[in-house]
């Protein structure tokens, strides 16, 4: 079982990203479940969603408290939310940010960091900071848990209300290509 928690803000598409990722995992032949957290999600408010992936059927329909990976689609969210809560030792952080690794406050539990300047790229592609598809590319690059091909297929099949297919495919590919992955060997001390 591989567990992912996606952090974002209402309107950034974190819940949709979780569904897209789960679908891509199924296209890769796995079982997958995604669950959104339930609150009064309004535009701008912090939101969270969960994905489980496995080679076996998944029975638990619950939130995730000890994820293998955290995806944060908003650069400023970590200032207000403890996005690292419960992360398994040696887990992965995939973070939308314009900063280099050295300027990011990463706790000792993190073993791998994928960084993607998603806001800038999204603004270039969409004219707006829609980072969710970009960060799916970043997730694929950082973790190798899902194939880029499966993600592409999902996006091709999706019905996007506010942006075109071409733009989203661009975002996915650039998210994958323009993510830098850092392995923090010294931190794996569980």
């Amino acid at each position: 079982m591989y567990e992912v928690r996606i952090h974002g803000r209402g309107g950034q598409g974190a819940v949709l990203a979780a569904q897209l990722l789960a679908t891509a995992l199924v296209f890769d032949g796995k079982y997958a479940v995604s669950i959104p957290a339930f609150g009064f999600e309004r535009r701008g408010a912090p939101v969270v969603s969960f994905i489980r992936a496995s080679e076996q059927p998944i029975r638990q329909l619950t939130n995730i408290y000890a994820p293998d990976c955290i995806v944060c689609v908003d650069p400023a969210l970590a200032r207000t939310v403890n996005i690292f809560a419960g992360l398994k030792p040696g887990g992965t952080l995939v973070q939308a940010t314009s900063r280099p690794l050295a300027e990011i406050d990463v706790p000792d539990s993190v073993g791998t960091v994928g960084l993607c300047d998603a806001v800038r790229i999204a603004t270039e592609i969409f004219g707006r900071p829609i980072t969710n598809t970009l960060m799916l590319g970043a997730f694929a690059r950082s973790t190798g848990q899902v194939s880029l091909e499966a993600l592409k297929k999902v996006i091709e099949q999706s019905d996007f209300r506010d942006a075109g297919l071409r733009q989203n495919l661009d975002a996915l590919e650039r998210g994958y290509a323009e993510t830098t992955v850092h392995t923090l060997e010294r931190r794996i001390t569980a």
Partner: protein
């Protein structure tokens, strides 16, 4: 369904590769509705049901479903419109929860009394006060005595499959009762997982001929008075009323074997991914000394917890109720046959007994068994609270303790601070 139909059903080998897809519970319910080809759906949005009716509206707008959709001005009218439609011969569907279900209680009660085979999803929600928009079974449990069949689903696939089956169940001539497919708000309604889509042509064959108003109709070609005043203290009034009430109870009882046959037929046609326990699921019960009981989407985490406990040498099993109304007394008697301690987890409250409703119903079954089994009521998952594997490990531990000590009269409140 007779045996001939079962024998001619396609075998697994002939079946085309299933269409795999990913969808949330609400979407699965909508897809199940579309497969059942209703004539009329009436909708009113309410959290956490909303994405279900949005999906229905989209399926109809896209021409993928041929049904009249009525955006009524409230749940009371939603159910009323459908009653009218059914009396004119329409296969009908809606979905609601919590306050919407409470608002439709008057036509809700009447639907079963008129033996109208409506299907309605309850995307279960807690509340009404303390105000909550999150999941819990209090809404569906509160209307237990209104004469509807109620089936609770564990997985997204089960939601889809049960929704289709519900139409055939409701319209079965030995049943003729409205059916609630209960689908847990939040974890199941918004939970997205992998499903297999049943084949439409095969579903059409499974459903058979539609005739929903053969027994009561508002049709100028068949003039009749529908629901005249019945009863009073004199004449044939009371016995007439009793005749209809008994008829309702008989329909409920008949539903037990119809549900069982229908699930079997369904699994035979669509394969093992579509096999669900119709009334009561027994999980790792064979040599179990004690068991926990669950309902709805909590069951997945509970099964994982049972597996963990089993791996640690515990002789624990799990009993899941699928069909809550009619209550599956005999099937539950079978499941409880060797159990020496029982923990029952409810996501709602029975105010009269200070316990969970499923717990209270189960006490009646234990009485029928003639066995004094120590049993403990656990109440959790209220208002969207998460029931995790960790929670169920605790339930298992506290149930095992009943092998040595008496249960408490108080329920165990799983998500309480203490």
């Amino acid at each position: 369904m007779n045996t001939t139909t079962l024998d001619t059903a396609p075998t697994t080998e002939k079946r085309p590769a299933p269409q795999l897809m990913l969808c949330e519970g609400n979407e699965a319910a909508a897809l199940g509705v579309a497969l059942a080809r209703p004539d009329m759906v009436a909708v009113y949005p309410i959290t956490p049901q909303t994405s279900l009716v949005e999906k229905l509206a989209k399926l109809i707008a896209d021409g993928r479903m041929d049904a009249d959709i009525v955006d009524a001005e409230g749940e009371h009218s939603v159910l009323s419109v459908l009653q009218g439609g059914a009396l004119a011969g329409a296969r009908t569907y809606t979905a609601t929860c919590g306050p919407g279900l409470a608002f439709m209680f008057e036509p809700y009660f009447r639907t079963s009394g008129m033996r109208l085979p409506l299907v309605m999803t309850i995307v279960t929600r807690d509340g009404i006060t303390p105000q909550s928009v999150w999941g819990g079974h209090q809404d569906a449990m509160t209307v237990r005595e209104a004469g509807w069949i109620q089936m609770y689903c564990e997985t997204v696939q089960e939601v889809l499959d049960t929704t289709v089956m519900a139409f055939r169940l409701a319209e079965h001539h030995d049943v003729m009762l409205p059916v609630n497919v209960c689908l847990d708000g939040n974890y199941l309604s918004y939970g997205t997982s992998r499903i297999e889509m049943p084949d439409q042509a095969e579903v059409d064959d499974f459903m058979g001929h539609k005739d929903v108003n053969w027994h009561v109709a508002l049709d100028p070609l068949r003039p009749m008075a529908v629901d005249p005043l019945t009863g009073g203290s004199g004449g044939n009034g009371p016995e007439t009323f009793v005749r209809y009430r008994r008829g309702q109870c008989a329909g409920m009882k008949n539903a037990l074997h119809v549900i069982t046959e229908m699930h079997e037929d369904w699994a035979r046609r669509f394969g093992e991914a579509h096999r669900f326990a119709p009334l009561v699921e027994e999980y790792r019960l064979d040599d179990a000394e004690y068991a926990i009981m669950t309902l709805g989407s909590m069951t997945g985490a509970a099964k994982d917890a049972v597996d963990e406990a089993r791996a640690a040498g515990e002789k624990v099993g799990l009993i899941k109720i699928k069909t809550f109304s009619p209550f599956p007394v005999e099937a539950l008697q079978h499941a409880l046959r060797g159990v020496r301690a029982l923990g029952v987890v409810d996501r709602s409250v029975n105010f009269r007994w200070n316990c969970g409703p499923m717990f209270q119903e189960t006490l009646g079954v234990l009485y029928r068994l003639g066995r004094q089994v120590p049993a403990q009521s656990f109440i959790g998952g209220l208002a969207g609270a998460d029931l995790t594997v960790t929670t169920f490990r605790r339930v298992i531990d506290e149930t095992r303790a009943l092998l040595e000590r008496a249960p408490s009269d108080e329920p165990v409140w799983l998500n309480a601070k203490d």
